[in-house]
């Protein structure tokens, strides 16, 4: 039982097509009403949960974002759009957003390309490729706190392996968890979980009919050319998915705080400056500065940025892919 079993998933689209094709049976209106009622019954838990646990808190945060509430003083009041105005001009917020965008622009392509390369490698007929796949994927299973603790130990100034390597080469030890090196530690900790993108790309690769690639190779196309003209386009939905989820994940990076392993206000504001990301700033504004209103405004701004990015990605890749919302509606 290995990652090899990916094929379990890959023959599903064929079945899906068959299923939707058979959807034309006539129905009585009574049955339709029954189906309608059943639909609402089945989706109700999610809808109720969405309203109570997502929409309501979001609304609460929106409402707070128009106040100067500090969670302690009873003398708070409405400040209109002041928090949003301040956020757009606050250098701290702008810098942290800039850093986060830069981090996103570096880390997302890095993990996507890295994962794709690994996927291509382990998709080839190899001895023990199941073992390779499993081992490469393992770090991706480690929970964030586990990753943070591990990287703290590896990059410990005194007793860490990283400085041990530098020592062995006769180089000076480095304070890894401070500027200007801390940013590389974060990037490395992200790269460690490369297995995530690898496994998704691998699933995508295995869905591509082998005959297509073989045909193009017989036609005399180089390996690179066949990869570019056949594999890559067919893989685009998978890559799009990775791009979107990767960007969303990267924009809300919280790892630096875990590396500092200190959720106190001091922990949030004393992370190395290069790692002072947007969400760290949000946490600091909530709990170190005590500005619940302002921090809530920052959350809504991040939310808007994420929506904008997602829309942008979908727009930039429009035509490449989208999935079918309702298999029946198509017919």
């Amino acid at each position: 039982m290995t990652v090899e079993e990916i094929r379990v998933a890959s023959d599903r689209p064929a079945r899906a097509r068959r299923a939707s094709g058979a959807a034309a049976a006539p129905r009585t209106s009574r049955m339709t009403t029954k189906r309608h009622r059943a639909f609402y019954m089945f989706t109700a838990p999610w809808l109720v949960g969405f309203v109570l646990l997502t929409a309501f808190p979001m609304g609460y945060a929106l409402w707070l974002s128009f106040t100067n509430f500090d969670a302690v003083s009873p003398h708070w009041h409405f400040v209109g759009l002041e928090n949003y105005r301040e956020a757009l001009s606050d250098p701290l917020t702008r810098q942290s957003l800039g850093r986060t965008l830069l981090f996103t622009l570096i880390s997302v392509p890095m993990t996507m390309i890295g994962g794709l390369i690994l996927a291509v490698l382990v998709n080839r007929p190899l001895r023990a490729r199941g073992l390779f796949r499993t081992l490469l994927y393992l770090p991706a299973v480690v929970p964030p706190v586990g990753t943070a603790l591990t990287f703290k130990l590896v990059f410990d100034t005194n007793a860490g392996a990283a400085n041990g390597v530098l020592d062995a080469f006769g180089m000076n030890a480095v304070t890894w968890l401070a500027d200007p090196y801390a940013r590389y530690v974060i990037l490395m900790s992200v790269l460690w979980a490369l297995g995530n993108t690898m496994i998704i790309s691998l699933a995508g690769l295995q869905d591509i009919p082998r005959e297509l690639q073989e045909a193009s190779r017989i036609d005399g196309a180089s390996a690179w050319r066949s990869f570019r003209s056949i594999t890559l386009p067919l893989l685009s939905p998978v890559l799009l998915f990775q791009g979107v989820t990767g960007v969303i994940g990267a924009l809300q990076t919280f790892m630096p705080l875990l590396l500092a392993a200190d959720s106190s206000p001091a922990g949030t504001t004393s992370v190395p400056q290069d790692n002072y990301m947007y969400m760290i700033n949000v946490f600091a504004q909530y709990f170190a500065y005590g500005r619940f209103g302002y921090a809530s405004a920052l959350l809504w701004i991040l939310f808007a940025v994420i929506i904008a990015f997602t829309a942008l990605i979908f727009k930039a890749t429009s035509g490449a892919v989208f999935y079918n919302v309702d298999p029946e509606a198509k017919k």
Partner: protein
């Protein structure tokens, strides 16, 4: 298979990358087996002179490891089970049923998948606090019962692929949709169930922020306690115990993954939004 140069290069590259990715695990385990003075030594001592296996026992006793592991386990299990059932239930609705409003609802579901959880967490905390649910496990039950968009989507994708004949035969037999769901669809969806259980268990086992905000020290999870607890009376971090504790913390998800690999991978690839 003949070994030629490009093949050799491929193997070398793979072994190198694998070694690099497994390196941190190795260091974690080595650190867990060292004595305190070996951690303080300069230059760095790569290998422990004697394997200090007792570090694992010490890490176990230093904090009430079992107690915190139990808390993590309870929360993760509560959440994994409830969220899996709820997500399958909702996913069935989106896959096999329809009614006015389905399209916007599905759009909403997909967009909440994009919604950073962390954004709602702090406001949600305030809501839970007012309801008196802080320091209880109720939030995880409620989160579970409302399903997770990602898992709902996973189940939806799975159910969409099942042949309609199954359902139609059952309806002719007078079976209700609830019956169809529980008797026909759910029993056939074990790969998705396995994937959902593993994924959601992993989320909760690894979650740091929600338990930090919601649970007091004796009820909190391993993820939270590991980051602060291994210090001696003076506050010295006991890194060998931290490492030992971390090894034991990371092991369950790794084992779970190895055992449930098939279902897990099937689930992940289904979620590739194809």
């Amino acid at each position: 298979m003949k070994i030629n140069t490009p093949r050799l290069a491929l193997y070398t590259a793979l072994v190198l990358i694998t070694g690099l990715l497994l390196g941190p695990f190795g260091w974690l385990i080595l650190t867990a087996l060292k004595a305190p003075d070996e951690l303080a030594a300069l230059p760095i001592r790569w290998l422990p002179e004697n394997f200090q296996w007792h570090n694992f026992g010490d890490a176990w006793d230093f904090i009430n490891y079992l107690g915190y592991a139990r808390n993590s386990l309870i929360i993760a299990t509560i959440y994994a089970v409830t969220v899996t059932i709820a997500s399958a239930w909702v996913g069935f609705g989106f896959a096999r049923l329809s009614a006015p409003g389905k399209r916007p609802m599905f759009g909403l579901l997909l967009s909440t998948m994009m919604l950073p959880q962390i954004i709602t967490l702090i406001p949600t905390y305030l809501v839970f606090a007012r309801l008196g649910m802080v320091n209880t496990y109720w939030p995880w039950v409620l989160w579970g019962l409302s399903g997770a968009p990602f898992l709902i989507f996973l189940f939806r994708q799975f159910f969409v692929g099942m042949p309609r004949e199954l359902e139609e035969a059952a309806i002719v037999d007078g079976c209700s949709y609830t019956g169809i769901f529980f008797r026909i669809f759910l029993p056939q969806s074990w790969p998705a169930i396995a994937a959902s259980l593993v994924i959601s268990f992993g989320w909760t086992w690894g979650d740091f922020i929600a338990p930090t905000l919601l649970l007091s020290q004796d009820k909190t999870t391993l993820a939270v306690i590991l980051t602060t607890a291994y210090r001696d009376a003076a506050g010295n971090p006991l890194n060998n115990l931290v490492a030992a504790g971390a090894v034991m913390y990371v092991l369950p998800p790794l084992l779970l993954f190895l055992v449930a690999q098939r279902g897990f991978v099937a689930g992940i690839s289904t979620s590739g939004l194809k």
